[in-house]
Symmetry: C2
Subunit: 419 residues, 2 copies
């Protein structure tokens, strides 16, 4: 179970901060540096002024770094160093993204930083020649914001990346978009209801995400240059639940990857996230703040979750989810599936992963479980070993889709002659 | 000046360890994860069992991780996952390399670990299709061990990477070899006298490294498939002094890159490394060890340096270097030069960099100084932002050698279609 001071158990060890949510965020920032955006040195410069557990110092430090990187991107553009400019712009986008990690949506800064993040993200993509474009997926009376990365007009497999309770669609780029592009996949990355900035459009998390994922697949059918039935769903964190719902109901899902697969989100809430309820309530917190003992980083997170769920507080989510969130019918999941989980993650996530895999194996279905050991990085969503996770994913997926399964350019790209 | 507890000031902030030499080694390991080898999660798993300042726990932790990665590489080979196998093998090589960072050459384990590191390094290169081969550069009555990375038989520019007091030739691969290969350069990486395992061949650091670098250039002339006059020297750390000697005397050096350039190594020793002399002597150390107050990590480093210098202890080096090490004649350096230094580095290194650049500019020579600010990672040898350093180097070098200077594949490689 997550302790009193963290939302969810997501790693087995402490790197720098005693506040575990903040330590996980630090590990995420270091991990993303392997793929795109900030260098480790830029992450370390940002955290140098972070006070352990203090969300304000975290926000200010990463936003300061973000502005620095934006200026660097500007000057690189001016001097014609476009490759450097692209990386700095991506870094400027992700420094803002990390700043948002301990920010409240109930502030003026929230939307300003999101807007700047989106601009820097698109600047980074353009300068790095990543063929990505912002899209809107029609949904109910409005739409869901997304990015579509289409390599060219040829038929290609598509990866639809689905995040969880803490993702913006920009996060889906380092989780799946960038490596997907490198491996020859088109990639669709959309904020589902409750994710990213969608609560401001009136969308909050709902019991059934199969309809919003179906809307993404509808969009793909209508807009892909060359329709291709090889469509894989990749769900991360809470996205392991959302994609389970789609995999069990939508026959267009040709392969399913989840880190981790979740069939009973209510059980995850009650077993693993109840710890935060033991944190002192708001009034107690105010008193605690005065004597400096509150966990304000946690409170910011809980405030954000309430906004995403459309509830008055996170306690309401914890009370209602176990009663209201439907259990996914595992027997109707028949597509080839790859499940990944880390040894340092919450026990209930491992339990549901193993149980689902066992049930599918009993039905002789194509299911693979990849456990990430402590020695290779055992964190939630494989944030400290993304490159390895990507190798695992595309090794597996290339074989399922009968595409080239030999060495791909992800971690050891072939040299490109420039001379 | 380096304090009582560190060899040299190499960064401006602390990441995890109070022992600054160990903290720098940790930052290096995280930084290298951006380029090749261990994932951040593997580095974090290793340091989880390191006791701050305790060299033995560092060695054992990284060696445990190294063995784990070797086993993983084996199983990936067996299951045909060759890309994963290549990265795991490189990781197994570098985990051993990092273990050696706090090991003494006066132990049986030293040569065993070096041998295993070399084997895993070559396995990683082969599995990753990096065309690298071990070579021996004839020198005096023996030879210097090196690696030569030749892309093909076409004329291409060559980068000769030269390390410092703490490098093995395998380190030169992430500093310059791998990115050089990605940018279309042939690369030569050699352990000069005193470096790597050369003290076991009777070679120790000497006053003049221009002769050993000349031997490398002789080797290149005799062995390159297509001789090409575009030869760049890249010196790191103490290599900034060794390459300065060659740049001032060998007309075959067509471009010089140094991080940082050093013309007066004696001054660096006397100004920046004298702090370690204030550490208690051996007898005092023994007493201190009993009450647990010794800095054993530092003592291991000093023992290694004495072995590399061929002196009875490091104090002798500190006493003799300022008197004996020649000052490089800056006026004879005429090739285009790029100097890099970090804002967190020792002041004397920054001073010599600026002084040399000013002298060269006064003579209207082509010299560029790139200072790495705190906000972008200000560590020695740019260990926390290697990807950025590589962009800076090849942007600069491509222009000097009149090769393609537009976006190169280093940090945003073009996707390679596999479908």
């Amino acid at each position: 179970m997550g302790g009193r001071n963290e939302v969810l158990r997501r790693q087995s060890q402490r790197t720098k901060f005693n506040n575990t949510d903040m330590d996980f965020a630090f590990n995420l920032a270091l991990g993303v540096s392997q793929i795109v955006g900030m260098n480790p040195g830029e992450v370390l410069a940002a955290v140098a002024t972070v006070k352990d557990g203090d969300p304000r110092s975290w926000r200010e430090s990463f936003y300061r770094e973000a502005r620095f990187l934006s200026r660097r991107a500007d000057s690189c553009v001016q001097s014609g160093k476009l490759e450097q400019a692209g990386q700095r712009a991506f870094g400027a986008a992700y420094a803002r993204r990390f700043a948002l990690g301990f920010a409240s949506p109930n502030t003026k800064a929230w939307n300003i930083i999101i807007h700047e993040m989106e601009q820097e993200f698109m600047r980074g993509a353009a300068l790095s020649h990543v063929p990505i474009r912002p899209i809107e997926v029609p949904f109910e009376s409005s739409s869901l914001p997304g990015y579509y990365l289409e390599i060219d007009g040829a038929p290609r497999p598509t990866l639809l990346v689905v995040g969880g309770g803490d993702t913006f669609r920009e996060d889906l780029f380092y989780y799946g978009g960038y490596p997907g592009w490198r491996h020859g996949y088109n990639v669709l990355m959309v904020d589902l209801p409750g994710q990213g900035k969608t609560p401001d459009r009136g969308f909050t998390f709902r019991h059934d995400s199969s309809t919003s994922i179906a809307a993404c697949l509808d969009w793909l059918e209508a807009n892909a240059s060359a329709p291709d039935a090889r469509i894989a769903l990749f769900g991360l964190s809470g996205g392991g639940y959302f994609t389970a719902q789609a995999a069990s109901t939508d026959s267009r899902v040709a392969a399913w990857i989840a880190s981790t697969p979740i069939t009973d989100i209510g059980k995850v809430f009650s077993s693993e996230m109840g710890g935060v309820q033991k944190a002192p309530g708001w009034l107690t917190n105010m008193a605690a703040a005065i004597i400096g003992r509150t966990n304000s980083a946690l409170q910011v997170s809980l405030e954000k979750y309430a906004w995403q769920f459309g509830t008055k507080d996170f306690a309401e989510v914890l009370a209602r989810a176990p009663r209201e969130a439907p259990i996914v019918d595992a027997s109707s999941i028949t597509c080839p599936s790859l499940f990944m989980f880390g040894a340092g993650e919450a026990k209930e996530l491992a339990r549901q992963t193993q149980a689902l895999a066992a049930a599918m194996k009993a039905r002789h279905q194509d299911v693979t479980v990849r456990k990430f050991e402590h020695a290779e990085g055992d964190a939630h969503c494989q944030v400290t070993n993304l490159k390895l996770a990507h190798q695992v994913i595309f090794d597996w997926l290339d074989r399922r889709f009968c595409t080239v399964s030999t060495a791909s350019p992800e971690s050891a790209p072939q040299r490109e002659p420039t001379h």
